[in-house]
């Protein structure tokens, strides 16, 4: 689905969501009230300016105090890879954006991520992965690194990696693998109106971070939940 199609399906009553330089911001009537929207469109890399523009929008929503849902729509490249971005502290800017979303969450805003195209690395972590619940549309392609690049770095033949990817979701790019890992909670049905599906997600927001439980159930992260629980149990034993 394109961003326009997604917005139309999410907000059948219309919306005031704008895209500039690949950055998505705006508000729209939603579920009898309003929703705030931020995002990245068109496989755009996220640099310092973009991160701060999005965090500005999130903080504005928090300051408004109306606890409206914040939807984070993502079809992004990775973080912008440049000398200038790093010089200016890209890690602070991306972390700040994530913190703004986490603060909004704590302040009572349901935060919902929706990936519909590419999503990678720092841009992914700072946006969609910082929401309480992350959904995807079929065809979304979240990745840390594509397989040819993995082959180059690990010095393993591409064919072998492709074979391994079938049985080992933990390293391979692609939506199915991110679902198995637990990072993506649900895959939406593009044939049905998105507004209702997102409303359901908000109604069923998990009370806490359940991603490692999902990863264990779905087999994408076979041991993470048990390891985290074991550490926490030892720590609590005092």
């Amino acid at each position: 689905m394109t961003l326009a199609e997604i917005l139309a399906s999410l907000f059948p009553e219309g919306h005031a969501v704008r895209v500039a330089d690949g950055l998505v911001t705006g508000r729209a009537p939603f579920d009898g009230a309003e929703a705030a929207v931020i995002g990245i469109d068109g496989d755009t890399p996220l640099g310092v300016e973009g991160a701060l523009a999005l965090s500005r929008a999130v903080l504005d929503a928090v300051r408004a105090g109306d606890r409206v849902p914040i939807l984070v729509l993502v079809d992004s490249d990775s973080q912008r890879m440049s000398r200038r971005d790093e010089l200016l502290g890209l890690n602070e800017c991306l972390a700040h954006l994530a913190k703004a979303l986490l603060l909004a969450d704590r302040a009572g805003h349901p935060t919902v991520g929706l990936i519909y195209g590419h999503a990678a690395a720092g841009a992914f972590i700072a946006t969609a992965l910082a929401t309480r619940v992350l959904a995807a549309l079929p065809g979304a392609n979240p990745s840390v690194m594509d397989l040819p690049s993995v082959a180059r770095v690990t010095k393993l033949p591409l064919e072998r990696l492709e074979e391994m990817a079938k049985s080992t979701p933990v390293f391979a790019p692609g939506l199915d693998n991110m679902v198995a890992t637990g990072a993506v909670h649900a895959v939406l049905d593009p044939a049905r109106p998105l507004d209702a599906q997102v409303r359901d997600l908000i109604a069923g927001l998990p009370a806490e971070d359940v991603r490692d439980r999902l990863g264990a159930e779905r087999g994408g992260r076979p041991v993470a939940q048990a390891v985290a629980a074991a550490v926490a149990a030892e720590a609590r034993r005092g």
Binding site: V48, E49, L52, L59, V62, R63, Q79, M81, S82, R83, R84, D85, E86, L87, G89, N91, E92, L94, A95, H96, A98, K99, A100, L102, L103, R106, A121, G122, I125, L129, A130, V144, M145, V150, M164, T168, P169, V170, F171, A172, T181, A183, D209, R211, D212, G220, R221, P222, V223, A224, Q225, A226, V227, A228, A229, V231, A232, E234, A235, R236
Partner: protein
């Protein structure tokens, strides 16, 4: 579990950059107080690395546990930058998550994260990336609950990729000259954009752009430590006492701080231009400055001092 030291070595005098994660933790804490969770004898190793014909580590490259710091209870996580570049794999990440979740209930005086990481472990990329997101969420919750989360950065792998993002989520950061904080590594930028954009072999450029002194000057870190365990310990104790709240006021202040940075320095090509614009008298002299004279320089730079993190 004990880590070896040659006879007669004062552990607090150890070089942070050179020390292993275990040596750092043992020497940072009050003597004998570190207790490790899921120690190496538990053999919680990566289930994935054997598929890649890669050796595993008994602790998956991270040491987690509790300790006392000047008598105060703290929880500690220390990454081993020499094992797989300190990168986040499934077990590695889960150990950090478990520690952060326990802290929510235990309310220690602080959680210390001794970063030493290149980011996500490629062989377990999805698990690593998800764990980074989980860690950032857990840190936000801890901070909101009033538990300071302090990052210490001075290892050879720095805090790159998702590690740089987690660092940016902490309450306070201490960094040494050798420590680096960034998202994209120099080699990654060079591979994607060419050597004209970033010559990764020009190590002076790497450190000028991503290293501890630059981060401290622009306010990307809150304390500058000499490269010893003793200096990081002193910095950690100081930072615990002045952790900013995690609330709208702090994030509004950070928004303003970062916007001002880009407005003021966004057209600079090199760190030395930024330092000059900050009022540093002899920017070219900064990389060679001793800790003492660098501290004096930092004291005069407004950008370096803030509660906006």
């Amino acid at each position: 579990m004990a880590a070896p030291l040659a006879a007669g070595t004062d552990p607090r005098a150890l070089s942070w950059y050179e020390a292993t994660a275990r040596q750092r933790v043992a020497a940072l804490a009050d003597p004998g107080t570190f207790h490790e969770f899921l120690p190496p004898t538990e053999r919680r190793m990566s289930p994935h690395l054997p598929l890649f014909d890669l050796p595993r580590a008994f602790d998956d490259g991270i040491v987690v546990g509790r300790a006392r710091l000047d008598g105060k209870p703290v929880l500690v996580a220390a990454q081993e930058g020499r094992f797989m570049g300190g990168a986040f794999g499934e077990v590695h990440g889960a150990k950090l998550i478990g520690l952060l979740r326990a802290a929510r209930d235990l309310r220690p005086a602080a959680v210390l994260i001794l970063f030493d990481t290149g980011g996500v472990r490629l062989q377990e990329a999805n698990a690593g990336e998800t764990a980074i997101a989980e860690a950032m969420r857990a840190i936000a919750e801890l901070r909101a609950a009033g538990v300071p989360v302090i990052g210490l950065i001075g290892g050879r792998a720095g805090a790159y990729g998702g590690g740089g993002l987690i660092a940016g989520t902490c309450s306070r950061l201490a960094v040494s000259e050798g420590g680096r904080i960034s998202v994209s590594g120099p080699e990654v930028i060079e591979t994607n954009r060419g050597a004209e954009e970033f010559d990764s072999r020009d190590r002076a450029l790497v450190w000028r752009t991503m290293g501890g002194k630059h981060r401290r000057l622009i306010g990307g870190a809150d304390a500058f430590a000499a490269d010893t365990v003793a200096a990081f310990r002193a910095a950690a104790l100081d930072l615990i006492g002045r952790a900013p709240a995690f609330d709208l006021a702090t994030l509004e202040a950070e928004q303003a701080r970062l916007e001002a940075r880009i407005a003021r320095f966004g057209d600079c090509r090199d760190a030395t231009e930024i330092w000059a614009r900050m009022g540093v008298n002899d920017p070219d002299a900064v990389p060679a400055m001793t800790t003492a004279s660098f501290d004096e320089t930092v004291a005069r730079v407004a950008e370096a001092h803030h509660d906006a993190r």
